[in-house]
Structure formats: C-alpha cells, structure tokens
Symmetry: D2
Subunit: 349 residues, 4 copies
Amino acid sequence: MIRVGVIGYGYWGPNLVRNFADQADATVTVVSDQLAERLTLAQRRYPAIRVTTDPFDLIADPAVDAVAIATPVAFHFELAMAALRAGKHVLVEKPLAANSEQALRLVEEAERRGLVLMVDHTFIYTGAVRKIRELIAGGALGEIYYYDSVRINLGLFQHDVNVVWDLAVHDLSIMDYVLPARPVAVSATGISHLPGQPENVAYITLFFAGSLIAHVHVNWLSPVKVRRTLIGGSEKMIVYDDLEPSEKLKVYDKGVTVGQHPEDVYELLVSYRSGDMWAPRFDTTEALRTEAHHFVECVERGARPETDGLEGLRIVRIMEAAEQSLRARGKLVELPADVGEPEMMNAER
Amino acid sequence: MIRVGVIGYGYWGPNLVRNFADQADATVTVVSDQLAERLTLAQRRYPAIRVTTDPFDLIADPAVDAVAIATPVAFHFELAMAALRAGKHVLVEKPLAANSEQALRLVEEAERRGLVLMVDHTFIYTGAVRKIRELIAGGALGEIYYYDSVRINLGLFQHDVNVVWDLAVHDLSIMDYVLPARPVAVSATGISHLPGQPENVAYITLFFAGSLIAHVHVNWLSPVKVRRTLIGGSEKMIVYDDLEPSEKLKVYDKGVTVGQHPEDVYELLVSYRSGDMWAPRFDTTEALRTEAHHFVECVERGARPETDGLEGLRIVRIMEAAEQSLRARGKLVELPADVGEPEMMNAER
Amino acid sequence: MIRVGVIGYGYWGPNLVRNFADQADATVTVVSDQLAERLTLAQRRYPAIRVTTDPFDLIADPAVDAVAIATPVAFHFELAMAALRAGKHVLVEKPLAANSEQALRLVEEAERRGLVLMVDHTFIYTGAVRKIRELIAGGALGEIYYYDSVRINLGLFQHDVNVVWDLAVHDLSIMDYVLPARPVAVSATGISHLPGQPENVAYITLFFAGSLIAHVHVNWLSPVKVRRTLIGGSEKMIVYDDLEPSEKLKVYDKGVTVGQHPEDVYELLVSYRSGDMWAPRFDTTEALRTEAHHFVECVERGARPETDGLEGLRIVRIMEAAEQSLRARGKLVELPADVGEPEMMNAER
Amino acid sequence: MIRVGVIGYGYWGPNLVRNFADQADATVTVVSDQLAERLTLAQRRYPAIRVTTDPFDLIADPAVDAVAIATPVAFHFELAMAALRAGKHVLVEKPLAANSEQALRLVEEAERRGLVLMVDHTFIYTGAVRKIRELIAGGALGEIYYYDSVRINLGLFQHDVNVVWDLAVHDLSIMDYVLPARPVAVSATGISHLPGQPENVAYITLFFAGSLIAHVHVNWLSPVKVRRTLIGGSEKMIVYDDLEPSEKLKVYDKGVTVGQHPEDVYELLVSYRSGDMWAPRFDTTEALRTEAHHFVECVERGARPETDGLEGLRIVRIMEAAEQSLRARGKLVELPADVGEPEMMNAER
C-alpha cells in the first residue's frame, strides 16, 4: 500500500486525490495547501486525511511514501527536490520544472537515490494517444510528413508561465511519445496582449531531420475551444479531435503520389488518393486513473515510468528553446542532439 | 458595353466567362487557351465567342476592350504587360505576378497609360469579408489583437508556385482589406514533402506595430478541408468559417480584463467575459459576379478598383518576404514601411 | 436546516446527495439502497451519513424532514406515499409515478397534508429551458407553429418502463413549461426490438388547439446521441441542441409570409425571410443544484414548486395516452380538457 | 443517338438538359416551357435546341424519341400519357403522378406499348444510397430494426402538393430501394401553418411485417437544413448525412444483446457493444448524370429501369395512404399486400 501526500488542492489537486484514493494499492494520507478553505473542503470530502498548510510538514511526514505536486510551476523544483531528499518518490504536474537546469537536477537526484520521478504528462495516458502511437509504430501511416496541433480557448491565464508552458507542453509531450524522431531545431513567434502578463498566443515550428515538420498553435484568448491535431503520413493521415464526444480519432486513407515522367508542365504530376475513413475504438478509461495506477506500480516495482524525469527534461528544453526563439521573433534555435540525455543517463544505458 | 477577352479556359477561366457573360454592360468576345479541347468546350457552350490558341492574337483583337488572365502564374506578367501596352484594361488572377519587380512594372505601366489594372482577389468581393471589414472599421471588435487563419485541404498541387502563393495569398489579401494596419515583418516556416515539388505546407507569422499579430497556416496535404479564420479583439471576437453552409460569420462577445491592483500572486488577475454570440446576415451574391461587375464599372468610369495593382503588389511583396524567411527557417524579414507604395503612387496621392 | 434522506444510490442518487450536501440550508442525514456495496461507497464519501438497506427505516427516521426518491419507477408510489404519510416532504425522480391514478393519489395526499411534493423534471431547472420560456412568453417567436424534439442514443435500456417514460418525459415536461397551451390529443407509434423488453423506439405527435403541433422522437438504439429541439414560430425559430458545448441555444430570424393576392398559380405566393442568428447567453449553473435549492426553499416557505405534483400528474397522463395510442399503432387518443387538474385542485384555486 | 425533348425549364429542367446534353448517346432537340423568358435563357445557352411554349408541339415532334417531364405535379399525368400515346419513352420528375389511379394508367400504357417509363427518383442514383443497399443486401447490418429520416429546411413551398409529396417521396423511394421488405401500414400526422396552403410539416410512420419500423419527418418551415437518415440493425448501424461535404455515410459497429437468464430485475439484462466506426468511400458521380445515362441505356436496349413506373406507383400509393392517415390525425391505413403490383404485372413475372 503506497501512501501518497498531495501538495496543492486548487484546480488539479482534487483530481489527483480522487484518483489515488480509487487505487487499490494506494491511499492518500496527507494534503497540503496554502489556503485554509481548500483544506476544509478536502477534509469534508475525505475526513481520514490529515491536512496542513505547510508542504514541508507533508514532505517530512513518515506516513508519506510518495509526493504528488500540483502547485504553480515556480514551486515545482523546490518541493520536488525536498521530497526526493526526504527519500520520497515524486509525481510532478507538468511542466516538470521552470527551466532545464532545475529539471536536470531533479532527474539526477532521483537517479542517484533510486527514486521514481514521474511527470504528469496526462495525455500520454489517454487511449487516443496510445492508439496513435500504435498506428505510427506499426507503420500504418507510412513516412510521417507533419504533425500539426491547435490548442486554443479562452483562459485560464497563468501568471508565472506563458501559454507555451501551459498548453504547448501537452503537444510536445504527445509528439515525444508518438513520433519516430526528435526535433533538431525550433522557430517560434508569439505575443502578450495584456500588459505585464506572459505571452498568451504562440506559434511553434519544430524541425526534424528529413522533411518531417511539426507545428503547435496555442492561445489563451480564443473565442472558441479547439483541440485538434493532424498527422500526415505518406500512406494515411490522422485527425485527432479531443473535443469530439465520440470518434475522437479518425484515420483517412488519403494521400498523393508524384508521377515519374512528366512530359509537360501542364500535365498533372501529382495524383490523389481518397479512400475510406476509419475511426478506431480505443480505451476510454480516465487518463489520470491510468496514470495514477502506473505511478503506484512503478513505485512498487522500482520501474521507470513512461513519462519519467528525462522526458520531462526533454520537453522543458524544447520549451526553453521555443521561448528564446519567440522573444527573437522566429529566430531559429538549434536543439542539442542529446536533448534530454544527460551524461550520466547515457552512460548507464 | 465592355468587350472582354479571357485568356485561359482551365479551372478558373470558365467562371470568368460565365460571370462576364452575365453582366448587363459586358460581353465576352474572345477566349484563348493552349489546349484545343478546352476551346471546343467553350465554343459548344458559347457559339458566338471567337476562340484562339494564341493569347497575343486575343490581345491584339480590336474587338477586345479588356483582358482577363487566368493562366499559370508564370505567364501573368508577360500577358498582362502585352495587354496594357495594347491599351487594354486588365484583370489578373491572383497573385498579380511571380515577383514584386514584375508586379511593380505592371502597376506603373497601367498608371502611365491610365488603364484599369485589377487583381482577382476574389474573397474581397464576398459578403462575409465585407461584413468583417465593416465590423472592424466600425470599432465593434475594439483593439485588434490577432488574425489567425487556417486554409488547408488535399490538393491541388501547383507546379510553378508553392502553397503560399496559391493559398496564403487569399489570407494576405483579406488582411490587407480588413485590418487597420499593415505588417512590418514576417517569419515563416514550411517544407516540401514531394521531391522536386514546391513547398506544400507553410506557417507564416506577420508582425505589426503594437501587439497585433497575424498567422496563416496553409497546407496542400491535409486529410480534411479547413477554411477558418479567428479575429480576436479587445471587445469582441470573430470566427469566420467559410465551409459552414450558413452562419459563416460568428461574432462572440467574449474577452478578458486585467485587474489593476493584484495583491497576491494567487489572486485572479484576469477576469473573463462571456456573452451572446451573434451571426450577422450578409449579402450572399457570388463573389465573382460582384467582382466582374466592379471591374466593368471601373473600366466604364475610369475608377480605381478595390483590388487594384497596388494591392496586388503589396501582397506579392509579403509573399516574397515570407518565402525568403521560410527558406531560412523562420528568420525574420522586415517589410519596408512603404510596402506596396511605389514612389510615383505616393506622389500622386 | 432541512434534513434530507435519499432513497436509491445507483445512477442518479449520488447526484442528489452531492447537490443537497452543497446547499447551505440542507444536510443529508440518511441514505438507503438495497445493495450493500452502494452504501459502502456512500459512506466512504460521506462518513457522517447514516446508511440503511431499508427505505422505510429511512422514512421513519425523525432526523429526516424530506425524502428524495431515486429508485426504479415501480417503487415511486409506494415510497412517496409512505413518506407523505410519515409527514415528510417529497422529491420524486421523473416520472412521478407509474400511472396517473397513483400520481393523482400522491398529489391529493400532499395537498391534504400541506406537504411539498415535487417531481424531478431536471430540464426545467436549466438555464437553456428557462431562457426558451422567457423568449416565448415575451412574444419573440410570434405565434408558435411547432415543437419538435429528438432525444436518442444507445442505451440505457430500462426494464420496468419503456423509452417514452424514460426519455420523452423530459420533452413533455419542457413543453409543459415553455409552451403557451396544453395538448388536446396524442398519436404515437413505436416498437420493441428486443424480445420481452419495453418499447425502445417511439414517435409521439401531440395536437393542440389551433395549428400548433408537437413531435417527440425517442430511441434507445441509436448509433449517435442526439438532443435537439426545434421550435418554430411565425417571427423567429429556435434550435436548442443540448450536446453543443457552448451556444446550446440559437435563435433564427427566419420565416415566411404568404402573399395576399396571388394572380397566378405559378407566381410565388410565399416569400422567405432570412436574417441574423443569435445565441443568447444564459445561466449555466448545474440544473440539479438550482433544483435542490428550489426544493429546500419550498419546504422552508411552504411554497408550491415549479415542478409540483400536479405537473408530474399532467405528464404521466400524457404518457399513458401516448402508450395507449402506440399500442394501437397511432390511434388518436384525446386528452381531457382538464388534464392534470384534479377536482380538489380546481376548487381551491 | 436518342433525341430527348424536355418539358419544363424552371428549377429542375436545366439540370435535365445539361445532363442529357453531356451523354455521348443522347442529344436534346426540343425544350418547352410556358414562360418565354425561360426559353430565351435555354436558347442563349444551347442555340441548336428548338424551343416552344406548347408541350404538345414538343411531344408531336418526330425529332423527339423520348420526353423528360419537369413540370408541376398536376401536369405529370396528362403530359406523360400524351407522350406515351405518341410512342415516346418517358422520364417523369418525382412523384410519378398526382394519384395512384393516374400512376397505374401510365404504368399500364407504357407496358402495353413496350415503352420505357421511368420516374426521376434521383437519390437512387447516388453513390451513397447504392452503397447502403449493398451493405444491407450483403447482410452487414444484420436484421434491420428501423429506418429513420429527417428531411427539413426553409422552403420551397409548393402550391399543388404538400410536403409529403415534395420531400418524403425521396425517403420512400430510398426505402423501397434499400430495405428488404415493403410496408404494410402507415400512420401519419402533420399540419399546415399557412392558411390555404398544403401541409408544410408531416411525420410518417411505416409499419412492416415483424419489428421493422420506419419514420420520416419532413418540414418546409425549419430554421436549419437537415438531411439525415439513421438505419439501425442488429449488427451494425448507419448514419447517412447528405449535407456532410465528405464522409456522408458512417457505419457504426454498435448494438445491444439481451442476456438469457436474468436472475434479478436489477441485473443488467442488456449489454452494449461499441466498436469502430467506418466511413466507406463510394462513387461521387452526379446522380442525375448516372440517371440520364441509365435512361438512355434502357431506351436503347428496351430494358426496365431501376426506378420504373411500377416503383413510382408504389411510392404514390404510400403517399396517398399517408395523406389519408394525416388528415385523420394518425389513423392507421393498411397498405394492400400487392402495393405497386398491378394484376398484369404479376401475371407477367
């Protein structure tokens, strides 16, 4: 039985508590939050849980084996590091940390101590994303041409990170999970429309070796909510619309082929293929339930999570580069070949 | 009665012929195309029209007052220049020319001879775009924050121009028409997925003075067709979906305001406003009918068209800059302050 | 402080408990269910609540002022009657009872004892339906021509009532609330596709005085979920799509007018009007929260609920007539002029 | 080469002329219409065609082998009968005639003279409907449970027939083509909202032997256009949405099965199956092109068309019965077992 402490009971924390409480092999023993009224709410719902306004009190509690952190990004590093140093396994809400140096130090600390460090990249635990990975890995799409995602809505504005760290982090982690390659460079643009606030709109292009290209559009100031990803391949193409109540995933047998011997510039060089569309069924278990189960299993077995600290570090490095490019209005920023592969990691593998 | 000659009877030419034939004050006298079977088709439909495989024969015909050009982009300049030199008014399919030098020479030639030079930026003549301009000009949206457009589908691949010159040209001309300012710099990315073919996917960010930003996503290799533009303002926001059979235009009373005295980083600084949505009715006349009528009127009255050569030149200059940026993977390219304003134009105004 | 006991903790009961628990002036003191595992679940979530497998034990508990009943329809009458006789106020899940005789006896019992009897017609407490009523009552639609509703999906099959009593009850109660008149006759068709099961598809037409007509299509065996109501009026028309994430309600300025002096059968007698569409904003509070609040208020003040027993009786009478017509394959069944107006009620008013 | 004469050049006639003109084995020789301006329009487009205001002049013309009739329904019988008596093959716009007696007389006249009599049930010639028939005939859907169609929009009001004869005729002919059985009885409701005009809204239930049921909802006064058909089967279910720009046809692997030995009324008797969805590709040739080709072939080969007079008669008989039921507010009207099978027809088969 893994005893979990949850830091932060605002927007996401209650979902963590509920899902860990539902696990057969886990129990939530302590919850902390700065605001007393949130703790009252937690206690009304779960009278057996101890509550505290001091997260370090929670971390120090011997009745806590693992700590889940759902605070503003600015506190991720300090709290996660303290928890690791106290010998606790750690699950951190996305993004892993506010910069790559912090993320790397967390990865190294967890590695050194043999503790589980997992980042809450929730979408990786959805049936839809797992099905996409399966389709791509199985070769159904052929050569992957592009990945294009739009993730826009009105609010919620964050104050300590911009829209890239809040929304694009989802797309970057999905790409890391489903694409057969890792990006080599990034160009981004964006702007803030509210004085003194972080950028609320951003456009990020990721370059890969070869002709694969990826693009992410994120916006906190859109009148409509959109969650739509297109993945184009030489054989098939996917539309993944997360707002569809059913048939979120559609696979199109569409594409083009180029003729070999055009004799005339007017002749049609490119021919089009348009076949059936297919919406595969996939597992619809709540992602956070699957994720909580996976975290508990990794802790029990000493296994490496699918979304481990290293993956969290890779995503943070891309976001840093994107932010750097965005502030230079699209200037290309190269990503190191070993993005997300710290020395000690490579050595061990 | 204006006598019109139409060069090119492939995809777009028949629409031009039909719409000029429908005008009370115009008649189509000659049609030319390189392919004999297309001319047979034209003549079967319109037995009174003379046909020829030689466009210069059409241009030289004294029974032609105005020439409409619907050929591949590569021939726009040569044909339009010949027509102007023959004293004919000219309507050129978008884009005006293959580069800005050509476009400028056409503008100057038309100006010198007092002839009408109009570019076929069709969307400017739709009821939807005119309504958008009216809403923005009337202040309904407040300060304009962003313009975001997605224009993607499968095909038709062009061979002499890339997807920017084929599809983004529509968005750039709409922006030129509806936005209160002109772009000052551009950053673009994109790629070709078919060997030896022009870029088939592109992402273009346009920077303006202040915090207005625009973005265009165009793609010839998408499994689904999308034609959707978002325009965000401080007071209201527009969604313009050209594929909706009705209610193409939706105006949302949505937005945010920033609090003045936040006392706490946890306090909500930003408050959201979500009111009614409104889909205004607008004129649904076929755009090309309105456009043909406007061209005929300009010829009759010696007036300057809404989409004159100068506008065509401005759009070509932006596409040149976008292509330059795209090939340098996002490198910022500044646009001259007088983009689209040749010396002689400024002097005259 | 109103102390509520909730009978039934299956699909709907937990929502009742949660919403009464959230009311400032109410508390849930007892929950009963036949199944022990459901009670375990209730107690884990709400440790202060007493649980029992015996609903009559709950009804007899002096710590219960009001009873909410969320059991299969077959038990509604017996439990509600026992609760009223024990002097408790009662909220019954829809439909009020399994037949009109039972419904009438409940109405009379509550009336005699001065107790609140409310039926859980949830949609009446949604912002959308309240806005529709406001628009119709304010005359915005002009003369009402028709009400047409489709409420279909896959499952959940009921075993003691057919699809009319499960799904059409929603539409009938909405009509009762928003329309300016009451139906005078009904014709219905439908069938069961599963041997030994209740009818799973039904079509109900309601006739009113004048030319108002209403139709409801319900189906438990549809591959897609639809919740769409059209309301046509002489001045405006409404589309209410409950599955839209936003803009559930759209008001169309569309209609026709008939010319007065047609001189020729070929002449167009009817002219069409197509204006703006408008999606009004409305309150999005969870309906059951509003409803729980209303029930508590009625109990405190001795007031008559908006969805009182009489309304429940009216709806049951229509469903009985619809079922009778359905079994006679569409045979018209007249509704009494005083449908839902028992003698004693009329006398008192 | 079949020489076709077209009577009526209003809404549908120009489509007939265009599609017959496009056939390799046909030519349009004469067009007639009461209105001179329509004939001017026809002649401007097709200068080689003779025009006349007198349909009997057209029928008598020896340069006409076959007559296509696109007039108001009231004239179908007289014109078609005259054409048959003049020895011409006949294509009649839907519905075949204004009543079943007329329809039967046309069928018999054509049979007697060995002439082709075809009714323009256009949807039968669409790729979508042909694919539906193929799926049902191949057993993919299992046992067919229901057919449900909604065909509503604003206008165009007809003056000589009601909405059943104008719109439901499409659904009835599609059912006749795709369903494995024919209806045995009908119950219909509906009303007219405009004084002195035909019924503008109607609901028709068709009963079949066994548990198959069909329903059609038609309305000329709907704020939104809907063209959606659901076909439920024991194995799979179809949604056919004719307004979808692509994927008009979706096949759902969804359904239910009933358990055999329920031990408890609370136990779930019915289990649900929800698998993949599949949108098969189908031929997208314009239906009227396929239909014109089929008519020409039947004339050339003396073959019986897929939508022959007998099918037209069957549909007219159902509409007559529906209208009779509608005027009696849902009263069941039995359809004769040999609906659409005149004596002489049966004898010959």
